[in-house]
Symmetry: C2
Subunit: 328 residues, 2 copies
DNA sequence: CTGAAAGCGCTAACAG
DNA sequence: CTGTTAGCGCTTTCAG
């Protein structure tokens, strides 16, 4: 149906080998020849068949982004951002991108194999055996927003500790010393990371962390609101609450509203991720900005390095920033 | 590197043709043979090479979802939902999915051609020439969340009119007769559709629509808030405002807050899309739920029908629902 | 600089 | 039910 290299060869009067060269190594054919070939191709609406090329070259230039997350995938704004960034970067570097969900990762690995994926970016809570499976199939692996100590895999993560330090520092500047944290069950890695960062930073600032001021909840507005209600209902209520992410923080805002507590006058609230909800709620939410764009880009870059046998740092940490808004 | 059909053939003692059959038409080989082949394949970790298969069959089972939208793509929750749904459906029907942005649609069309995409789902403001380009390349096209009168292309859209009727009907039930609309510039199609639906529905209910009560704004919270401030600052302020989508409605909520207007007591607010922000804002937002999941699924189904030369309805309308929450 | 020819891994007649 | 064989469209030595 579509024109092939043979059609172009016939019309331009050169061999198929030359046509092939013209498209993959333009500078290895004479100017005049190239001209002729391009003309013929133009007329025939010829465009090289990537499948056939992959077949002949034994490489596909195809990579995958696998979101390892139970429920929402691309629906989670955080991953949507990373994904978007990966998409752009992949296009720019002429790689085909396959996006998939790891609902069934064994299947995903199988698919990756027979679809000839050369490398995969694992986002979120990847499991060790998942990684091994890919490696066994000779598929390069990079972790994004996750780490796997003991495994020899490059990973790109955000500086959760740095972000937390900015957040706590900011609250102290605002005169809040009694700071609580509601760590939603976001993902094992992120939740743990932020939780530990909180303890560490509080320690560094010489602040006490009352165990009762650190709470867990589901990563939903309602669950967060309930948890915040408990926290704020007590006599020794905290002066500030850090949400494990923006959704949790939005829940805190809701709780404050129900209790008639004014934010930020009577309570400061800080979120994590700097997602779009920050601008929607009232007051707008101060939040730690995670640079998803950068994380995605670096993920692709690391994968490229791996595929080209170049040097590739094991751990890349992307700085976080604080976006101050009305809630503090 | 990976085992091929030849390796399996050798190990199992049957011809490559039989190995091939075993994987594509299992019931066309004897039980015992199939057994042998699968065993050998298991041992060799063989998995059919989709590229080679595509090459031989002259079909790729590959489809694309192209988001035709200037700025945000997958970052727009609305499209993320459609995309997610398309992903699931595509996997289920064993099709490979390529997701891309139509920043440069000519390039996209070229890519689609040489990557051997068989059909494409166009989401958002697709242009006529874009469609022609695909058709010229013999690539099947389906429109999602968009229509193109005069073009012979199946499309799947939400029932904006029905949604609007639910919204307005609900407001009337709440005793609001003086209803305004702020139609953000969401997309030419959606904006127009909702705007027209509003006029029509108001007419059907025998309500006047003061031209000053229909406003335009950018689809950002801030722009919507500004516009709402003007609308609400007037003496004859409306009793209810319909936002073109949830972001716009959130802006209205912000404006009400600034003016000290209580929602829903003094002002009712309704959004469109039923996105996650609805649950985050205070009060929670009543919104018209658009069934993105269904839209995505149907988009894939229509494309399949097209690719299989089956009957395929030109226009599919997906019903909308009203989700009543605190803002009304 | 260009051409001839041998695959890449698999499918699909066509025979047997 | 199974095997033989001729491609699918392109790349890549190897000669010329």
């Amino acid at each position: 149906m579509n024109a092939t290299i043979y059609d172009v060869s016939r019309l331009s009067g050169v061999s198929i080998a030359t046509v092939s060269r013209t498209f993959s190594n333009p500078d290895r054919v004479r100017d005049a020849t190239r001209q002729k070939v391009f003309e013929a191709a133009e007329i025939l609406h010829y465009s090289p068949n990537a499948i056939a090329r992959a077949m002949a070259r034994q490489r596909t230039d195809k990579i995958a982004f696998l979101i390892c997350k139970r429920d929402a995938t691309i629906l989670d704004e955080f991953y949507a951002r990373i994904c978007e960034s990966i998409m752009r970067r992949a296009i720019r570097s002429d790689r085909q991108l396959v996006i998939s969900t790891a609902a069934d990762w064994a299947q995903a690995a199988g698919t990756a194999q027979n679809k000839q994926v050369e490398g995969v970016i694992l986002g979120g809570s990847a499991q060790a055996d998942m990684v091994s499976e890919f490696q066994r199939k000779h598929i390069a692996v990079v972790l994004v927003n996750h780490r796997m100590p003991g495994f020899d895999i490059p990973c790109v993560v955000s500086d959760e500790y740095g972000g937390m330090r900015l957040a706590v520092g900011h609250l102290l500047q605002r005169g809040r010393r009694d700071i609580a944290m509601i760590a939603g069950r976001i993902s094992p890695y992120i939740t743990g990371e932020r939780y530990n960062a909180f303890l560490r930073v509080m320690g560094e600032y010489g602040l006490e962390t009352d165990a009762r001021h650190i709470r867990m909840c589901d990563p939903t507005v309602e669950s967060a609101a309930q948890t915040a209600l408990e926290l704020l209902g007590r006599k020794d209520r905290p002066a500030a609450i850090l949400g494990g992410n923006d959704v949790v923080a939005a829940g805190v805002l809701k709780a404050a509203h129900r209790l008639g507590l004014r934010v930020p006058e009577e309570l400061s609230v800080v979120g994590f991720d700097d997602s779009t909800v920050c601008g929607m709620v009232e007051p707008e939410l101060t939040s730690v900005h995670i640079d998803c764009r950068r994380i995605g880009e670096l993920g692709v870059d690391r994968l490229h390095a791996l595929l080209n046998d170049e040097d590739c740092p094991q751990v890349t940490v992307v700085p976080a920033e604080l976006r101050v808004r009305g809630s503090t």
